[in-house]
């Protein structure tokens, strides 16, 4: 068996807002983040990507090592997607961190109940934005170990 060079597993962002995605990427760049980033504009796209078997399709990209997810998505919303993911054994090893405008305690509690690995409210000021993204990437990529094994 030929040993292939493992691709670096990407960071996946589920975000329907182009503006938010742009600001997030800007903040990532400011913190010097180098991993590949893939984006899904909706829950359906995210699901196809994470679990192509569902549509009898072949996997193209490698599985992400971490998913950042907005709650307010068109169609199937973030919470529903989180619930579906929590039922898929194959995906349980991928942590999902929620990034939302909402600070509703009910939302926060529900997300943790469905297995979210964290909950971040989207900051209002860019300065705070950078701080939060720095802390986030520092934790997940410099502090703790993420599953890197091949699928």
């Amino acid at each position: 068996m030929v040993k292939t060079i493992k691709k670096m597993r990407p960071l996946m962002i589920v975000e329907d807002s182009d503006e938010d995605f742009e600001v997030f990427c800007w903040a990532l760049q400011k913190t010097g983040f180098t991993r590949p980033v893939i984006r899904a504009e909706s829950a359906e796209v995210a699901l196809t990507h994470l679990f192509p078997e569902l549509l009898q399709a072949d996997r193209i990209d490698p599985l992400p090592c971490l998913v950042l997810m907005d709650l307010n998505l068109p169609g199937v919303n973030g919470l529903q997607l989180l619930e579906q993911l929590s039922k898929m054994k194959q995906l349980l090893s991928i942590p999902v961190v929620i990034m939302s405008t909402s600070n509703n305690p009910l939302d926060i509690e529900a997300c943790y109940c469905f297995g979210a690995a964290g909950y971040i409210t989207k900051p209002f000021k860019l300065e705070d934005y950078i701080e939060k993204v720095r802390a986030l990437t520092h934790y997940w990529f410099n502090t703790v170990m993420l599953p890197e094994g091949s699928d």
Partner: protein, 757 residues
């Protein structure tokens, strides 16, 4: 036994006088006492010479056939063998009068104490005896008349008129006795010239117990001439009864009480005829006939129809009283139904009890009503004052009953003396055991409802010894008034039932309402939850684009800053400023709406420590400010919602520092515990708020200053504070004089002293 005569009569003699052992008769007949079975005469009234043709001395020792002849005696013996003579004087035979053969003598007999008593009475010479024809048609007329009346009182007014016609007496009255034996004239028919006695009341002692008992024994009493000379018996004591006087309980001729004749003399009455009215074997009242102008004698034939009539009246009284009761009961039931129906329609069920048309006083015989609900008094009609009703309720609670009826309230509750005129009678129900809710009905003192038709200015009668005579209606009335002072008419069973039923219905309604409330609460909770999610969703949707604008403006500033002109910079800053303000604003609004969602868990909390914590925190976040805080009087440790309390103090203290231009911001914080409800205050030396704004400052988004003054603000701080205070059941107010700083005061629990007013 002391001899009781008209001269030495006094009040106490009423009960002492043994009327049935008087040993004398009235002169309109003769009495013989005989021994059975020999029918030997052992005593005779001393008028026997005039009446029977033989002096009493001769009669005693004779046998009856010597007086009446063999034939009549034989007829009497048959009657004696067949008739029951034990319970009354019973008519035996009528025979031609011994000396006047065209006149008739009626003989009746009574067995008592082993003796046979025989009374002889003559028919008045002028009477053409034809009772069968004459009276039967007259009686028929009367019966028809008597059955025409509706209701007891109108029936009795027909009765007195009819009896007056039938008897020929100048005045006919009906007395009714109440439970205690006091009497009242409830119907009267009289010659126009005579003084009216209708409405007159007299005490039980006026018709004393022995007299009432005798009335129950004889269907009719007749006193043809009040000035009669009593006829004694000869010998005065019977040799057959161990020296006791012969018992004349059933005697028609029996001499009357000197009390009675004394009374009649004072009233100017010459002759009377009295028939008892019985109901269920008990003396209910009397039909009393009086003649004022001259003595008046009704002979046996004339009395007979009256006797029949009185028996018929007695029967009818029972019916009519039951009917009146029944009708009253039906009316009460209808009133009850209306009240309940009204409660179903009204917003507040208790309000429905006090409508202008339908209310607690419908139908029930009461002049006033009151509702006491958790210290709040509602009055209707003639009642004691609110304060007095409150006292009454306190007394009621001590009685430990749910239904209470009294017709002599001042006897039971001496403080009620002061309002006995409106409330001598009280009927009260406790609606709810949980809360102090009472419904009460009041009945006035009997006196206020009594109207004697008599002339109050008529002079009183003075005795020979200069004393006011007791034996007259005026004195009776005065005496009766003393006895019934502080009394109302007693509550009837159906009235007490009416109250109990209303109590039950009110309780049912309360239970039903609390069930509805529970349901509403559940619905409200659900709708609150929905509203809450809506609020969050809305804020989310508003914040998202706002954040986008803010982010982009910032990006513009950071990334493209060098390409912007000075003015462009300025404009980007303004965008950032405005979006920042709006964001702050939205957050405050969310906090305000969230106050209602803070869980109300109450814990013992040291308010001193809480305040100190807040001050420490504020000093750290405002390191440049010079702040002094004086906490006194000291704060208590009390049960409260800590989260809520933190919001309250934090907002007030922040304001005290923020709206303050002084170099040293001097705060005074404290708590007065002299009242039931502790009053907290936060006082500053900052700006003061003029009184015209005191009402508005607690409204959300109400700002008194421009955006640039005092570091700006959302205008929600005081609104949040007030909401948090109201959540705990308290209230907040401001005491602020121009230029003297502001002083915010608040309570954390409902203000009890204010409720008491």
């Amino acid at each position: 036994m002391t001899e009781v005569t008209v001269k030495n009569v006094d009040l106490s003699s009423c009960d002492r006088e043994q009327v049935h052992l008087v040993g004398a008769i009235q002169p309109h007949g003769a009495l013989l006492v005989l021994e059975e079975p020999t029918l030997r005469i052992v005593q005779a009234s001393t008028n026997s010479a005039d009446f029977l043709g033989t002096p009493c001395e001769l009669l005693v020792g004779q046998c009856l056939d010597e007086l009446l002849g063999f034939e009549s005696t034989a007829a009497i013996r048959i009657q004696l063998a067949t008739k029951n003579l034990n319970s009354a004087f019973t008519h035996l035979i009528s025979v031609p009068f011994l000396s006047h053969q065209d006149s008739v003598v009626h003989i009746s007999g009574n067995r008592i104490d082993g003796l046979l008593l025989m009374e002889f009475e003559r028919t008045t010479d002028s009477i053409k005896v034809n009772p069968a024809y004459e009276y039967s048609s007259r009686l028929q007329d009367m019966i028809q008349q008597l059955y025409g009346g509706s209701g007891l009182l109108s029936f009795l007014s027909v009765v007195v008129e009819q009896v007056r016609v039938l008897s020929g007496f100048e005045r006919v009255m009906v007395y009714r006795f109440d439970r205690e034996g006091s009497g009242e004239v409830v119907a009267e028919a009289k010659d126009a010239a005579l003084e009216a006695y209708l409405g007159l009341h007299y005490p039980a002692s006026d018709v004393p117990e022995p007299a009432r008992r005798l009335f129950e024994l004889s269907p009719l009493r007749h006193l043809p001439d009040v000035d009669y000379v009593p006829v004694p018996l000869f010998p005065d004591l019977s040799p057959l009864t161990d020296g006791r006087p012969v018992d004349l309980s059933h005697s028609f001729l029996r001499s009357v009480s000197v009390m009675y004749t004394g009374y009649l003399l004072n009233m100017g009455v010459k002759a009377t005829l009295v028939m008892p009215l019985m109901k269920l074997g008990k003396l209910w009242g009397l039909v009393s006939c009086m003649h004022h102008s001259e003595p008046k004698y009704l002979c046996y034939e004339q009395r007979f129809p009256l006797e029949l009539l009185s028996r018929m009246i007695s029967l009818r009284i029972g019916d009519l009283e039951s009917l009146d009761q029944f009708a009253y009961r039906v009316r009460l039931d209808q009133a009850h139904g209306q009240l309940i129906g009204e409660m179903g329609r009204a917003k507040s069920h208790f309000e429905a009890l006090f409508g202008s048309k339908i209310n607690l006083l419908n139908e029930i015989d009461a002049d006033g009503a009151a509702l006491l609900e958790d210290g709040k008094v509602t009055l209707l009609g003639k009642t004691p004052s609110e304060h007095q009703v409150g006292l009454l309720a306190k007394w009621l609670v001590q009685q430990d009953v749910v239904v209470l009826a009294t017709h002599c309230l001042p006897d039971d509750f001496p403080s009620a003396e002061s309002f006995s005129d409106v409330a001598s009678g009280l009927l009260a129900i406790r609606v709810s055991l949980a809360s102090l809710t009472w419904v009460m009905w009041f009945r006035p003192e009997v006196l206020s409802e009594t109207h004697w038709a008599g002339d109050p200015n008529k002079p009183v009668i003075i005795n020979a010894d200069g004393q006011e005579s007791r034996l007259q209606p005026r004195t009776s009335f005065a005496l009766w008034k003393e006895i019934v002072r502080g009394h109302s008419h007693p509550w009837q069973d159906c009235e007490i039932e009416h109250a109990s039923k209303l109590r039950q219905s009110l309780q049912d309604i309360l239970v039903e309402r609390s069930y509805q409330l529970m349901q509403l609460n559940t619905e409200l909770e659900l709708s609150n939850q929905a509203l809450n999610s809506f609020v969050y969703a809305s804020f989310h949707d508003l914040k998202e684009p706002l954040r986008g604008i803010h982010n982009y403006a910032e990006l513009l500033k950071l990334e493209e800053g060098e390409h912007l002109s000075g003015q462009g910079h300025q404009r980007v800053e303004t965008i950032l400023n405005l979006t920042g303000r709006m964001h702050h604003f939205l957050e405050a609004l969310l906090q305000y709406s969230n106050i209602s969602n803070v869980e109300q868990d109450y814990q013992a909390c040291s308010i001193n420590r809480l305040v100190e914590e807040i001050i420490d925190m504020l000093k750290k976040t405002n390191p440049d400010e010079n702040i002094t805080v004086d906490i006194q009087p000291a704060m208590p440790v009390m049960l409260c919602n800590q989260t809520g309390l933190r919001v309250i103090f934090q907002n007030l203290i922040t304001n005290a520092i923020k709206y303050n231009r002084e170099a040293v911001k001097a705060l005074k914080i404290g708590c007065y515990t002299t009242n039931d409800t502790p009053i907290f205050f936060v006082q500053d030396n900052g700006i003061s708020i003029s009184p015209e704004f005191h009402e508005y400052i607690f409204q959300p988004f109400k700002r008194l200053h421009g955006q640039k003054e005092f570091g700006g603000g959302s205008g929600v701080g005081l609104a949040i504070t007030q909401k948090a205070i109201m959540r705990q059941g308290g209230r907040i107010w401001i005491e602020s004089g121009e230029g003297k700083g502001s002083r915010f005061c608040f309570t954390l629990t409902p203000d009890r002293s204010e409720e008491r007013g």
